[in-house]
Symmetry: C2
Subunit: 266 residues, 2 copies
């Protein structure tokens, strides 16, 4: 049987935290990072939708069997544009699996979510969590976390100070969704700041969800492969991320995606 070919899309290299989990599946992974236009998290919704449409259109042409949107911002505000570009191809995103995982883990029903301004501003996590039975949801945008990770300051005292300020309103949640692909790299700091809290890593939740719903089966006998496509030339943030995730040296290719207008109504 041919190996499953999974196309993973993220605005930047943060989605490699999701890839780290997908590598357990014995699959061929093609990862597209829109590093020429990252970050998406502070941009307007219509712009994120246009970028997502262009990137996913490109990824579909790489002949993948399954599309994974690793980016929380895109999952939260641009899934319609992704589906428009994906056509018949199955699309998995990171919000639904994280919501399911949080609802399974919570004991008090008080769940927290952190993410970019766009993700939190969309209210998508809050709405889904409440619809599916959360008693209370607290959410907080954390715009400085991504630049801190990309600076390599995951364990820096500044990062802990920033985390204490951002997470102050979240004391009392028993489960916290890390609603941005960079955040799993901050787990040691986050766990110090909220020692009583369980954390939901989108990548872990996604792989669990894909397996449970029969979209993928782990093929432990085969090693996964990883192709990395970037819209910008490689920069220090990539090296930073590959090192932090111990992914070693990976074949990297810069690609030019077509820029075009999202069809009206998409």
């Amino acid at each position: 049987m041919a190996r499953l070919r999974i196309g993973v899309f993220d605005s930047g290299v943060g989605g490699l935290t999701v890839v780290r989990q997908l590598l357990r599946l014995g699959a061929e992974i093609v990862y597209l990072a829109d590093t020429a236009r990252v970050p998406y998290g502070n941009r307007a919704t219509q712009t994120v939708r246009r970028y997502a449409f262009e990137c996913v259109s490109y990824l579909v042409r790489q002949g993948v069997d399954l599309l994974v949107v690793a980016c929380n911002t895109v999952s939260a505000v641009a899934l319609d544009a992704v589906r428009e570009a994906a056509g018949e191809l199955p699309v998995a995103e990171v919000v639904t699996p994280a919501v399911a995982a949080a609802l399974e883990q919570t004991q008090t029903g008080h769940i927290g979510v952190i993410g970019t301004r766009a993700t939190i501003g969309s209210g998508v996590y809050e709405r889904l969590l409440k619809e599916r039975g959360a008693r209370r949801v607290s959410s907080q945008a954390c715009p400085l976390f991504v630049p801190l990770v990309e600076e390599g300051w995951c364990e820096h005292p500044v990062t802990e100070l920033v985390a204490r300020e951002y997470l102050q309103p979240l004391h009392g949640v028993d489960t916290l969704i890390l609603g941005c692909t960079h955040y799993p790299l901050l787990l040691p700091v986050l766990a110090r700041v909220l020692p009583e809290t369980r954390f939901v890593d989108s990548g872990v939740a996604l792989v669990h969800w894909l397996q449970r719903h029969g979209w993928v089966a782990a093929d432990g006998a085969r090693a996964s492969t990883l192709e990395l496509l970037l819209t910008d030339a490689p920069t220090p943030a990539l090296e930073q991320m590959l090192q932090a995730l111990r992914l070693g040296s990976v074949a990297v290719q810069q690609v030019r995606i077509a820029e075009h207008v999202l069809p009206v109504g998409a």
Copy 2:
């Protein structure tokens, strides 16, 4: 006499610190911020050149008399692409004026420069300063300063802690060039961290340079006007910047610039 129409280009809204200075000239100012693709400071040179070419081509079509590149990253790594797009139009940038101002102000000849990764990595400030007589140049990339300003944390204790870490290697410089348009907003913090140092604000140096070289004459009798063109919809970073600069309410328009390939050899 018709009022001078100045086109100002920056990757984002940081260049409004330069506009604040240009407003003293009694001119018509058209400011284009590429907020759909900001920040440029961590991107590869070829990508910054392409973006600069596209934006300046657009700005030229707005019928301006003079083009000001407020972005240090573009001034440092993409001036050739800007000139290609500008054709016959005079182009002023922010590196040359800041270098001139620093050399005038220094007493010890030991000058410092801070900026984005791309600006510092280009070595342009260092080369120009040394060619023109600086005894010693110390430079430091400060990638977290822009996100801190855009978060509105200009006076936050975290920002002071970050500044202490970044500026530690710069003790001993008597003059420091703020080589990024966001940095003048951090002046109170920077002055606490380096109390013996004089600071060069690109915007102030630029207006001084334009006047000294006869490119512009201040027309104190007329009020300046400001049009703000953005490639993304307005976001909180813009509000943040307008408030911090006390620019009040400004007419803002979202524009779509053509994306095309920079001519070979440009």
